[in-house]
């Protein structure tokens, strides 16, 4: 069984500033993947960044980076130089290495303020 906890229901950040979204997870899998998805009002889930648990190096994608602490089962997302288009729901998710099935957290609503 897998669980994902996002403890921040809502957050806001000034445009061009940096914000960090928190996520903790639990899984019985020895190999697994972690994801951050963005869901704008259009409802389409868009992959922001992914991390293979067997890799120690934190993943980065342009302005997005993660802080992966495997022992603590923590997977936070840092957004640098926040833009108005970053306003959305952000979901943390985990999947076992043998399946693409995603277990999602409840999400964090991020608002970027001009």
């Amino acid at each position: 069984a897998q669980t994902v906890t996002q403890s921040q229901p809502e957050m806001s950040v000034q445009e061009a500033e940096t914000v960090t979204l928190s996520c903790t997870y639990d899984t019985s899998e020895s190999n697994y993947y972690l994801f951050w998805y963005k869901q704008p009002p259009s409802r389409q889930m868009i992959l922001v960044i992914r991390q293979e648990a067997y890799k120690q190096q934190n993943a980065t994608e342009n302005r997005f980076s993660v802080n992966f602490q495997k022992a603590a089962k923590s997977f936070s997302l840092k957004i640098s130089d926040s833009q108005l288009g970053d306003t959305a729901m952000y979901f943390c998710a985990v999947s076992g290495a043998g399946s693409y099935q995603l277990t999602f957290g409840k999400g964090t609503k991020l608002s970027v303020i001009p």
């Binding site: 190999n31 998710a93 995603l102 409840k106």
Partner: protein, 120 residues
């Protein structure tokens, strides 16, 4: 590359009525998923197909929900009869391969825009 297509975008029905959703995955993607996203929550997997076979339907309420993926391409999800608590967004997603090896690189599921169902 065309994305995952879903229809309709919105549907309003009365309780006890039936409804069907359609999904066309990305061409060549073997794996197809249906997720249910209730307002204020993250998506929850209902069913997973690999080609035209069911991989996991353990969270599908089989007394009222059914899904099929004929010919391993398009899929339909049906609810009959609908209940008020079925009001949600139904998301379809697809991915090209099941992961079995650590060296598989395509680990992304691609989502459609979803169908918002309101049961009144």
């Amino acid at each position: 590359e065309a994305g995952v297509a879903q229809s309709p975008r919105y549907k309003i029905i009365e309780k006890r009525q039936s409804v069907a959703f359609w999904c066309n995955p990305i061409s060549g993607h073997a794996t197809l998923y249906w997720y249910q996203q209730i307002l204020g929550q993250g998506p929850k997997l209902l069913i997973q197909f690999q080609n035209n076979g069911v991989v996991d339907d353990s969270q599908l309420p089989k007394d009222r929900f059914s899904a099929e993926r004929l010919k391993g391409v398009d899929s339909t999800l049906k609810i009959q009869p609908a209940k008020l608590e079925d009001s949600a967004v139904y998301l379809c997603a697809s991915s090209p391969n099941l992961r079995g090896q650590l060296n598989l690189v395509n680990t992304e599921a691609f989502f459609g825009q979803g169908t918002r169902l309101t049961v009144v």
